[in-house]
């Protein structure tokens, strides 16, 4: 599934990241210095959300995908 060509997708991804990051700092956390940021659970939330998403994608795209039988090393069992 390709929604955009790479020259649109890359700036869009960078813009989305900056919007999320700066928006969280300015409007949600309202911290003034980088040291204030370390006293909030922002960074651990970034890691925990990434780890959760990694697990969800592993189950959906790799284990339950159309090539799942191949990924699990049993190519002929399901295809034949």
């Amino acid at each position: 599934m390709v929604l955009f060509p790479w020259f649109v997708a890359v700036p869009l991804a960078v813009g989305q990241f900056l919007m999320g990051h700066i928006g969280s700092i300015k409007f949600l956390l309202r911290t003034k210095t980088p040291n204030d940021m370390l006293q909030t659970p922002y960074y651990t939330a970034v890691f925990q959300a990434s780890a959760f998403w990694l697990g969800v994608i592993w189950i959906h795209r790799i284990v339950l995908s159309k090539s799942s039988s191949l990924m699990l090393g049993i190519p002929s069992a399901k295809e034949s």
Binding site: N35, L38, Q39, A51, W58, S65, S67, L70, M71, L72
Partner: protein
């Protein structure tokens, strides 16, 4: 005939290593998260600080009598005696035994009691990432192979 050709082509794709890699990934992933949450929830080795003025005064007098009222043995922020190799964390505003650093990703200090969990988490994390990257790449190329075989 087409079904036979597809089956033959697919059986030649050896994917047994991917099963072990998938298994390795999920075991590493679950264990890494277990140790991660262990490090997050743990008490890193907080030093009990004096909250009352009387206790602080008694501590200062006792340290002065023993000749230990210096920055190595006494924390001026917590106003209490601190063991050697402990350090005051400015983010948590507490002294931590065998203080390593304050980790924003863990949202906790790394000290005496969670250093082991933190190091195991790091090692598993470093193992887990390349496995996942390889699996994602293989999944994409295998999917193309399957589509290619079916279109023949």
């Amino acid at each position: 005939m087409q079904w036979f050709l597809t089956s033959c082509r697919l059986t030649f794709i050896d994917t047994s290593h991917l099963m072990w890699l998938n298994l390795g990934f999920i075991v590493t992933y679950v264990t890494a998260l277990y140790f991660f949450y262990g490090a997050v929830m743990a008490d890193p080795g907080w030093i009990k600080n004096n909250t009352s003025i009387e206790a602080q005064k008694a501590s200062v007098l006792q340290m002065a009598d023993r000749g230990l009222l210096d920055v190595r043995h006494f924390c001026t922020s917590c106003v209490t005696q601190r063991p050697l190799r402990s350090k005051h964390c400015k983010f948590c505003n507490r002294c931590v035994a065998k203080f390593d650093h304050h980790c924003p990703w863990i949202y906790n200090c790394i000290g005496a009691k969670n250093h082991r969990a933190f190091m195991i988490f790091l090692a598993l994390f470093i193992l887990c990432v390349p496995m996942y990257a390889y699996l994602s790449f293989e999944c994409k190329s295998l999917f193309h192979d399957v589509c290619h075989c079916r279109s023949l």
